[in-house]
């Protein structure tokens, strides 16, 4: 799991993962979507590949990137559940405060 959380701690890399979650994409297509050089995008892709979050394969002259769903799922599932727990507590606290305000004379 080493490197996974470091890899997803960067907003650009999370955006790349979100994009690849929809469908696999060519490196050049990914680069076009972000306001940075092909070289900078490649560096992000290398970090994601080393963390096992994406796979890259050659298809002719193109490099296709795809999400390694299982790996990604392992890394995010628990945190997702915990976030949901606290978000729901905030909802309940909000409702609690509203009820108290209403009850106030």
């Amino acid at each position: 799991m080493n490197g996974v959380f470091a890899a997803i701690s960067d907003p650009t890399r999370r955006a790349i993962l979100t994009h690849l979650g929809r469908r696999p994409a060519r490196v050049t297509d990914i680069a076009r979507r972000f306001p940075m050089s092909l070289n900078a995008v490649s560096k992000h892709l290398i970090v994601l590949e080393r963390a096992g979050l994406i796979e890259r394969e050659a298809q002719g002259r193109e490099r296709i990137c795809r999400l390694n769903a299982r790996r990604f799922r392992e890394a995010t599932l628990w945190m997702d559940g915990m976030r949901e727990f606290w978000e729901a507590r905030f909802d309940a606290l909000e409702a609690h405060i509203a009820r108290k305000r209403k009850a106030r004379p």
Binding site: R14, T18, G21, T76, M79, R83, W86, A92, L93, I97
Partner: protein, 149 residues
């Protein structure tokens, strides 16, 4: 940072109507907390809070089939800006994690509450939670939007 050095903290933030004092007091009132510490199918919660530095926190959440214990110890208590406590539960593999809740004044009578949950056990132990792929990605996108917004 966590014991394994890679798990980043989880940060959840929300702006509420109310002053910092009001919001802080909600987080230190066992009776009130029992009302909003009832996740999912939990029917009732019992909150015990020894409100002092080093004091114990115990929340028992009772569901239709089982009860879930959460316990910890207060590690920071600075009204109205911050409360922190350790958080030990089945969901944390019974290992101590740290929850820090900070209160910031935002505009007129608004308070932003920023909750940071950190020191998570290793992610391999996280299989117990179910969640859909699409939802995870939506979360990522929301998270990113929130950062950019």
């Amino acid at each position: 940072m966590s014991p394994d050095g890679v798990t980043p903290p989880l940060v959840v933030r929300r702006t509420f109507a109310g002053t910092r004092e009001e919001l802080f007091d909600e987080w230190t009132d066992p009776e009130g907390m029992a009302a909003w510490m009832c996740p999912g199918d939990i029917v009732s919660s019992d909150v015990q809070l020894d409100l002092r530095l080093g004091g114990a926190l115990r929340i028992t959440m009772r569901g239709p089939k089982a009860a879930y214990e959460h316990r910890g110890e207060i590690t920071a208590l600075e009204r109205p800006s911050k409360i922190a406590f350790t958080w030990i539960a089945k969901a944390t593999d019974d290992r101590p994690t740290l929850v820090t809740v900070e209160f910031f004044a935002r505009g007129r009578n608004q308070c932003e509450v920023v909750l940071t949950h950190e020191n998570f056990p290793r992610p391999e132990a996280r299989q117990q939670y179910e969640g859909g792929w699409a939802r995870i990605l939506e979360r990522l996108a929301d998270d990113r939007d929130a950062r950019q917004g």
